[in-house]
């Protein structure tokens, strides 16, 4: 054989264009250096592979009730759609009520501001909720080879959403307290219980969001570590 035609010289002829093309060559350059590691005989691999394939394909599995699965699947889809619809209806309702009060020159300015402001914030929430669901949905039809990249993108999107909730708590806290204070001036009962309940509720939301934030951050760190390998 001509020296130039030797397979040993093939590597020198290849022009690397993509990461995927580079991978087979990287394997050659990163062959195990340890003398303890023996390469496996390909005939052994082939022999065992045939047996493994047979074993794998004959694995027993519990048969699913497909009709029940269909019912459950439809139910879950319906619930997801219903929740999103409720979010949208509530947002529109708040905005419409706020605008209606404003047009009619209502005297209850506190409620009007509360509904209008709440509606505007809710629009942002609905936007992020839809965006988050669409991102997750698209990633499930894409390349599984990019699953980690998708998971990172999903995780970051989720983190933005949680940050928004935490920020919302800071915005809504003074607004709600002001609204409660204004509304309580027309009442004879002490608003103390209302204030305690409201603030405990907002703090709880913030703490729950923070717990999820910490969990997602841990997840993101892990995903980035496996993505860089």
């Amino acid at each position: 054989m001509n020296k130039d035609e030797s397979p040993l010289n093939e590597k020198g002829k290849v022009i690397l264009q993509t990461k995927s093309q580079a991978e087979p060559l990287l394997d050659v350059t990163t062959l195990p250096k340890s003398s303890h590691t023996k390469p496996l005989d390909t005939s052994v691999i082939d022999e065992q592979w045939a047996e493994m394939t047979q074993d794998w394909q004959s694995q027993p599995f519990v048969k699913t009730d497909i009709n029940k699965l269909l019912r459950q699947t439809k139910q879950r889809t319906l619930i997801a759609k219903l929740l999103l619809s409720l979010d949208i209806i509530a947002t529109i309702g708040m905005l419409v009520a706020g605008i209606y009060m404003w047009i009619n020159n209502t005297k209850d300015e506190a409620t009007m501001i509360y509904l209008g402001g709440g509606g505007a914030l809710s629009v942002i929430f609905v936007y992020f909720a839809v965006k988050f669901r669409v991102t997750a949905w698209r990633s499930n039809c894409g390349s599984p080879d990019k699953a980690i990249e998708h998971a990172i993108a999903g995780c970051m999107s989720s983190l933005s959403y949680i940050k928004l909730i935490k920020l919302f708590c800071f915005v809504i806290c003074p607004v709600s307290n002001w609204y409660l204070f204004t509304a309580s001036q027309h009442m004879s009962k002490s608003p103390m219980f209302g204030f305690i309940f409201l603030n405990v509720f907002i703090i709880s939301i913030w703490l729950i969001a923070h717990t999820f934030y910490a969990r997602r951050m841990k997840e993101l760190k892990f995903l980035k570590s496996i993505d860089s390998k």
């Binding site: 991978e23 087979p24 493994m52 394939t53 889809t77 499930n140 599984p144």
Partner: protein, 174 residues
């Protein structure tokens, strides 16, 4: 026939035909039966959602397997805690197995033990190796695997060779 009832028929047909494939693939990524069931339902839900967008530009098997692999890859990459717990359980199982059976070649084990050992070893592989090996074990061609994973057939070949070698080493080590 309205599109909804047509979709229901297609869904039932697909799930009946590919249930075995899906169950097997899931076994290669998750050990706990309860989580396996959750994953199966999650895959079914995503197939249901994707069904209207299926344009027959790929085989149904490829389409179903791609959705399954997306869900499973996301599950594996997110299951930080689960993996840790699995490893603990695996370590305990290994101890128990060592007490009961001596290390033996793969061929000398009975079928059930071989299947359990095979699934367990696959779960210890790297994600990209798990992906190619579970599809190859289902008898898919390089072209089909490349369609499912959206990678080149050359890369399928490279990954599969590495995965096979790694799997056999793991099987011997367990």
């Amino acid at each position: 026939m309205n599109p909804s009832s047509n979709n229901q028929e297609i869904f039932t047909e697909w799930m009946t035909e590919y249930e075995k494939l899906l169950r097997h693939i899931i076994t290669g990524f998750e050990a706990k039966p309860a989580i396996q069931d959750e994953l199966f339902q999650e895959i079914a839900l995503n197939i249901w959602r994707a069904l209207p967008s299926f344009r027959h530009d790929s085989a149904v098997k490829t389409f179903v397997a791609r959705i399954a692999h997306n869900i499973l890859a996301t599950h594996v990459s997110k299951a930080v805690k689960s993996v840790k717990v699995d490893q603990d359980i695996d370590a305990l199982n290994q101890e128990a197995e060592k007490d009961q059976i001596q290390p033996t070649p793969y061929q000398s084990l009975d079928k059930e033990q071989r299947q359990a050992r095979l699934a367990k070893s696959i779960r210890q592989l790297k994600l990209d190796q798990q992906q190619v090996i579970t599809l190859a074990l289902e008898g898919m061609s390089y072209q089909e695997i490349s369609d499912v994973l959206v990678i080149t057939t050359n890369l399928v070949g490279v990954r599969l060779q590495r995965a096979k070698a790694a799997l056999i080493k793991l099987m011997e080590a367990v």
